[in-house]
Every structure is written in structure tokens, then in C-alpha cells.
């Protein structure tokens, strides 16, 4: 199993020390369809858990991406800025959005692990 944690809004987060890498799930990119633009926050911006952090624009609509944990932005993925389709082709890898310096690792306990998220998504499709 991976060490990803998921939110009910379909963001994922992977913790590496006190740095959280944030992206959207494969389910989310499938729901959105072709991604054409990702609006990323500036480095240094601070977000509380659940705050609106990024916007992802698909052909059809704009969707908000929320910070899965509280933290300060230390990097925004320049690659998805250049090629937004990475969100579709590699959502859990090259298609990541931002890296956050995490304030409270305990917040991750509120999130779902891979198995719980898979079950959650199954319930949405039923």
C-alpha cells in the first residue's frame, strides 16, 4: 500500500518528513476530464487545513483544490503549469500541485488511507 492520505474532496497528500506533497486523485482527474490550466499559489502562502489553495480548470469547469493539511507553500509544481495535462496522465506523480511545510502532522489522522478512500469512491459511484 502507498503512504498516500486522501480527503473527501479528492485531494491526496504524501508526507516526507515535515513536507507534504499535495495533488488530486485519479478519481478526481477522471471526473474533471481534460485539465487545461492549474492556478497555483505563490511560495510562502499559508493555508489552514481545508482552505482553498489551488484552482484546476478543465475544459468544462473550474474546481477548487483544498489544502489537505495546514502549512506554508514551499514549492508549486512548475511542470503542471507548463503542461496541465500531467494532472490527467500522472495525477499521483508528476501531476502534483504544491508542497507544504506541515504545521501539525496530527491533522493527517483525519484523512483516509488508500483502502478507506477506495471504499469512499466506490460509494460515490454506486
Amino acid at each position: 500500500m502507498s503512504d498516500l492520505r486522501y480527503t473527501k474532496d479528492h485531494e491526496w497528500v504524501r508526507l516526507d518528513g515535515d513536507v507534504a506533497v499535495v495533488g488530486i486523485s485519479d478519481y478526481a482527474q477522471k471526473q474533471l476530464g481534460d485539465v487545461v490550466y492549474v492556478e497555483l499559489p505563490a511560495v510562502g502562502k499559508s493555508f489552514a487545513q481545508g482552505a482553498e489553495a489551488c484552482t484546476v480548470e478543465s475544459v468544462k469547469a473550474a474546481s477548487d483544490v483544498f489544502a489537505p493539511v495546514s502549512g506554508d507553500v514551499i514549492e508549486a509544481n512548475a511542470a503542471v503549469n507548463d503542461d496541465p495535462s500531467l494532472v490527467n496522465t500522472d495525477p499521483l506523480g508528476k501531476g502534483w500541485f504544491i508542497k507544504l511545510r506541515v504545521k501539525d502532522r496530527g491533522e493527517l489522522a483525519k484523512l483516509m488511507d488508500e483502502a478507506a478512500y477506495a471504499k469512499y469512491v466506490e460509494g460515490l459511484d454506486a
Binding site: 476530464g33 481534460d34 490550466y37 480548470e57 475544459v59
Partner: protein, 365 residues
């Protein structure tokens, strides 16, 4: 209430479509390749769209031409047999109740109306026109793209003789169909009305042709937006007139002079004096799409209008929008800003369509 399904519903699901509720119908928004791939396929080859959610209506009363002309600004009496044209039901203020295609099918007028407006349209038609029948037992397929005529010609010899906006009855893969050379993509193509029970067979035969792929409502929307074609409920509605929407070309000289339809005085005045606002195309300089309801500002930041349709144009390779602006700011090349999340995204007004139409040339034979 569960959404209604078209005869092709199970086929869409089997093809991996993502189904959405659209105007009370369960419709495919996209297939596995996705909107951009479906859009590009339509511009390069041929795509099959299910548009069976649209209302098909026959007017067969003896006074159908005069009775319909009393409801629309279009020239119906000048509509030759086997020809189709685009017009709209108007209200007393000149607003658009719905826009639709009407064909002269010899012994009846054949209308294709928007799914979201079929009940409103039927009520209005039945109140004013004799012999109104909803053809609820028919499905409608659209085959669109530069190879559509080649493909359909294999299954329905003779369709190549149809001119743009021509209509005829053809045998399509053994099924008697009413075929028109028209569509909603800006490309050459056909709309094919078939009995509901034959729809799956006709769709399967078309999809079996190597040039054809299925496409959903998502691609239909990006294609029509690039083609500068209005979508009712967004770019046009009961508060916008045909003149404001740039649809004055649908009103012939005779109908401009004689009037005789709801809102004729308002529309005649706007044709003479120019309307206060106009629907325009806007090409954004950057990559941020502006969506419906985004505010349009002039170079100084003053509000001049509102976006009515906006998104990414796959063939343009960037964001485009339709919107109403004050007539004084409607000239091509005017610099504008579109407000997206509090930031004015720069763009400029461009002539429509964004992507040139490539309809069939000539009058057919």
C-alpha cells in the same frame, strides 16, 4: 425524478461514456478518449453524436406556413421543399423563447428544438398552430466532420447530393431516415432522424466505419463555441433579441418590412438603429479560461458586459468566450478584461466564428 434515457443509452454505457443529467436526460458528456480528443476527431474525421434528447416536431396543418410565420421572424413561406433553415420563437419583447431548425418536408414542416425547451415550445406551438405532433418515437443522430459525407455515403448512397441545409428521406443502412446536411459543430455533417427502435442499429453501423468515433455533449459544446454558434439558456434567452445575438441574418427583407411576428417592432427598431449591446467573441491572451457570468471590462476597468459562454477551445489551443458588451465596445480588436477570481484576464474582441465554418459547398444536385 429519474432522467429520461435515449434509445442509445445502453450503447453509450457499453462504450464507456460518462453519463450526466442534461435538461432532464441522461446523456454522455464524454467517452474514454475525453473532450479534447473527441473535439479534434470531429474536426479531422467524423464523430457520432446522440442528440435524441432534442425535440422533433411535425407541423402538418394546412395553414402551417402562415401559422408558424406568426411566431417566428424567419421566412417560412420562402422555404423551398427539402430545404431547412434556422429561426427562433420570439416573445413580444423580441426575446428568444427558443431557437431551432425547421425543414420543409413536403407535406409537413419538421422542427428540431432544444431539449430544455421542448415543453415550452410544444405548448406555444399547440396554442397557435394546427396539426402539431411531437415525434417522440424518433431518435436523432448527428454525424459531424470533414469525412462525414464519405462515411454516410457508404451507408446511404445519394446523401452526397444534399447541399448544406438540404433535407431528404434516405435509406440509411436499411432504415428510412430523414437526413439533413447540417449540424452544430461548424463542420460539414448530417443530422439523421430515425425510428427509435432502429437507432442502435444505425449507430452501430456508423461506429463500425473506421473514420467514426463517438463524441459526447462536452465536445459538442466546445465545437459549437469555436464555431460561434449560440446555445439557448446561455448566449440567447427570453431577454436577448436575435439582433443583439448577431442573428439578424436569419430575418429576410420581406419579414423585416412586413413584421407580423412577436416582438417585430422591437426587432425592426434594433435593425434600424443598432442594438445597445451585442454578442461578441473574445480571445483571451493568457491561458486562464473565463466562464459564463464573468464580468467583461474595458481597458480602463469599467464594466461593459458579461460572458455567456466561456471555456477552452481545443482547436484554438486557448481560452475563448462569447458575451454581450455595450455596442460602443463591440468592434473587433477592442481590448477587454474578463474577471476570473478577482483578476481581469486580458483579451480582445474577435470576429466570429473563432474557427472558420467548413460547411458543404454548392447547391448539391
Amino acid at each position: 425524478m429519474a432522467p429520461r434515457t435515449t434509445p442509445l443509452h445502453d450503447l453509450h454505457v457499453a462504450l464507456g461514456a460518462r453519463m450526466v443529467d442534461f435538461a432532464g436526460w441522461s446523456m454522455p458528456v464524454q467517452f474514454p478518449p475525453g473532450i479534447i480528443a473527441e473535439h479534434t476527431h470531429t474536426r479531422e474525421k467524423a464523430s457520432l453524436f446522440d442528440v435524441s434528447h432534442m425535440g422533433q416536431v411535425a407541423l402538418s396543418g394546412p395553414s402551417r406556413v402562415a401559422q408558424l410565420e406568426a411566431l417566428v421572424p424567419g421566412d417560412i413561406s420562402g422555404l423551398a421543399p427539402h430545404r431547412q433553415r434556422y429561426t427562433m420563437l420570439t416573445n413580444d419583447a423580441g426575446g428568444i423563447i427558443d431557437d431551432f431548425m425547421v425543414a420543409n418536408a413536403d407535406d409537413y414542416l419538421f422542427l428540431v428544438v432544444n431539449a430544455a425547451r421542448r415543453d415550452v415550445d410544444l405548448a406555444r406551438l399547440m396554442a397557435h398552430v394546427d396539426g402539431v405532433t411531437e415525434l417522440a418515437d424518433r431518435a436523432l443522430l448527428a454525424l459531424q466532420g470533414p469525412l462525414a459525407a464519405t462515411v454516410l455515403g457508404r451507408l446511404a448512397p445519394g446523401v452526397g447530393s444534399l447541399a448544406f441545409m438540404g433535407v431528404g428521406v434516405f435509406d440509411v443502412a436499411g432504415v428510412t431516415a430523414v437526413v439533413s446536411r447540417s449540424g452544430y459543430t461548424g463542420e460539414d455533417g448530417f443530422e439523421i432522424s430515425v425510428p427509435a427502435e432502429a437507432a442502435v442499429e444505425v449507430a452501430r453501423r456508423l461506429l463500425a466505419e473506421p473514420e467514426v468515433a463517438p463524441a459526447g455533449l462536452g465536445a459538442r459544446d466546445t465545437l459549437r463555441l469555436e464555431a460561434g454558434l449560440c446555445l439557448w439558456g446561455h448566449d440567447i434567452d427570453e431577454t436577448t433579441t436575435p439582433v443583439e445575438a448577431g442573428l439578424g441574418w436569419t430575418i429576410s427583407k420581406r419579414r423585416r418590412e412586413a413584421g407580423g411576428y412577436p416582438g417585430a417592432s422591437v426587432i425592426a427598431r434594433q435593425l434600424a438603429e443598432k442594438p445597445k449591446r451585442s454578442l461578441v467573441g473574445i480571445r483571451l491572451d493568457g491561458r486562464v479560461p473565463a466562464r459564463e457570468l464573468a464580468q467583461i471590462t474595458d481597458a480602463s476597468g469599467a464594466p461593459i458586459g458579461t460572458v455567456t459562454s466561456g471555456g477552452y477551445g481545443p482547436s484554438i489551443g486557448g481560452p475563448i468566450a462569447l458575451g454581450y458588451v455595450d455596442a460602443s465596445h463591440a468592434a473587433p480588436d477592442t481590448a477587454v478584461g474578463l474577471a476570473v477570481r478577482g483578476v481581469a484576464q486580458p483579451g480582445r474582441i474577435v470576429k466570429l466564428p473563432f474557427v472558420p465554418h467548413r460547411y458543404a459547398k454548392g447547391q448539391g444536385s
